[in-house]
């Protein structure tokens, strides 16, 4: 009797939460999407919880400002919620979400084009310390990260996206290509050009020692 009550299909999200708590059942992304599409709007919170860090990180490294990254993350999920009824499940939900995030970031960058000069002057960096290196090495690394962030800002939107997706966020080249809606060859070419331009920017930086041939 008790079991029947728990697995009753009409118990909605509250029932789903109870199932998770009692049977340690973790709904897959597809199950969550099915719940949202069936009108269980609160299940959408599960998707937000699962993917907000990766989407925020992508937006932060692409846009370079915390408030812009917050806005872009919110826009991504609002758009996703609006369009989730059209999601047919041909791709994984995360690929679909990253594609929306990539578009939101590029749109955001275009809209914020006028503020570019201000943004360039505001390269801020959270200090990283792994606790294994000495403070001097950590300082040098943080300085390099600061230069890299500034260098990334100087790249064109498409090259910047390729570099951020692959070299910064660690996506595979296939995932990056799918997120940017381009072929594998194009993604590879954008990545190489982005690295070349970044290297050139670093070389032009007086504080950076480039090894010449």
């Amino acid at each position: 009797m008790e079991a029947c009550r728990i697995i009753a299909p009409t118990d909605g999200f509250a029932g789903a939460v109870q199932r998770v708590q009692t049977a340690r059942w973790q709904p897959t992304d597809r199950e969550v999407v099915a719940l949202v599409q069936a009108g269980d709007r609160e299940a959408f919170g599960l998707l937000v919880g699962r993917y907000q860090d990766r989407i925020y990180s992508l937006a932060y490294n692409y846009l370079g400002r915390e408030d812009d990254a917050r806005d872009a993350t919110q826009e991504t999920f609002v758009k996703a919620f609006r369009q989730i009824g059209n999601f047919g499940g041909r791709s994984d939900i995360y690929t679909w979400l990253y594609r929306i995030a990539v578009n939101c970031c590029i749109d955001h960058l275009r809209r914020a084009g006028a503020r570019k000069e201000v943004a360039d002057a505001e390269v801020t960096l959270e200090m990283h310390a792994d606790g294994r290196s000495d403070p001097e090495t950590e300082l040098e690394r943080n300085e390099l990260r600061r230069r890299l962030l500034a260098g990334i800002r100087g790249l064109s939107p498409k090259l910047r996206m390729a570099l951020v997706l692959h070299d910064v966020e660690g996506y595979t080249l296939e995932e990056a290509a799918r997120s940017m809606r381009c072929t594998l060859g194009t993604a590879k070419s954008r990545l190489w050009r982005a690295r070349d331009e970044l290297r050139r920017t670093l070389q032009a930086d007086p504080g950076y020692d480039e090894v010449a041939i």
């Binding site: 919620f81 690394r141 966020e169 080249l173 010449a212």
Partner: protein, 148 residues
């Protein structure tokens, strides 16, 4: 020199730096070329630094903000739909009222043109009646009817 340029181009395009450790040709070159060794060290450092920029965590409260915004957008969309429906119903009601006023208002008070037509019709009837009896007026018609 040319070999250094070629190899640096190839290493720069490598998807993962770790792959180079297993490349025997690359390792042989690096062992004998101090400049390339330094270059490679820098490349490795850049890649490592780039990778360390990733994996930021969303700030506290973002999840709640996202969900609130999703609900408010949804509410706004619904309100917009309701407003559009009300506007459509209102427009239809106004149109129906206008049509009713035009239709029913027109029966009680015929337009001036109709009055002229009535007068013309009456004059025509009178003229026709006068022609038959050699008289004019409705009385003559009554006299004709009295003969039957």
């Amino acid at each position: 020199m040319k070999e250094c340029r070629r190899l640096r181009g190839r290493w720069g395009r490598a998807l993962r730096v770790e792959g180079l450790d297993a490349d025997r040709h690359a390792q042989e070159h690096l062992a004998g070329c101090e400049s390339c060794r330094q270059w490679w060290q820098q490349e490795r450092e850049i890649r490592r630094a780039l990778a360390s920029l990733g994996g930021n965590r969303a700030p506290a409260g973002l999840e709640q903000a996202v969900i609130s915004r999703v609900w408010s957008e949804r509410l706004r969309t619904r309100l917009q739909v309701v407003r559009l429906r009300l506007a459509a119903v209102g427009t239809a009601a106004v149109a129906a009222t206008l049509a009713a006023v035009l239709y029913f208002g027109g029966v009680g008070q015929p337009p001036a043109d109709n009055l002229d037509i009535n007068r013309m019709l009456q004059a025509h009837v009178e003229a026709s009646a006068g022609g038959v009896t050699g008289d004019s007026g409705l009385g003559a018609v009554g006299e004709v009817e009295g003969l039957f």
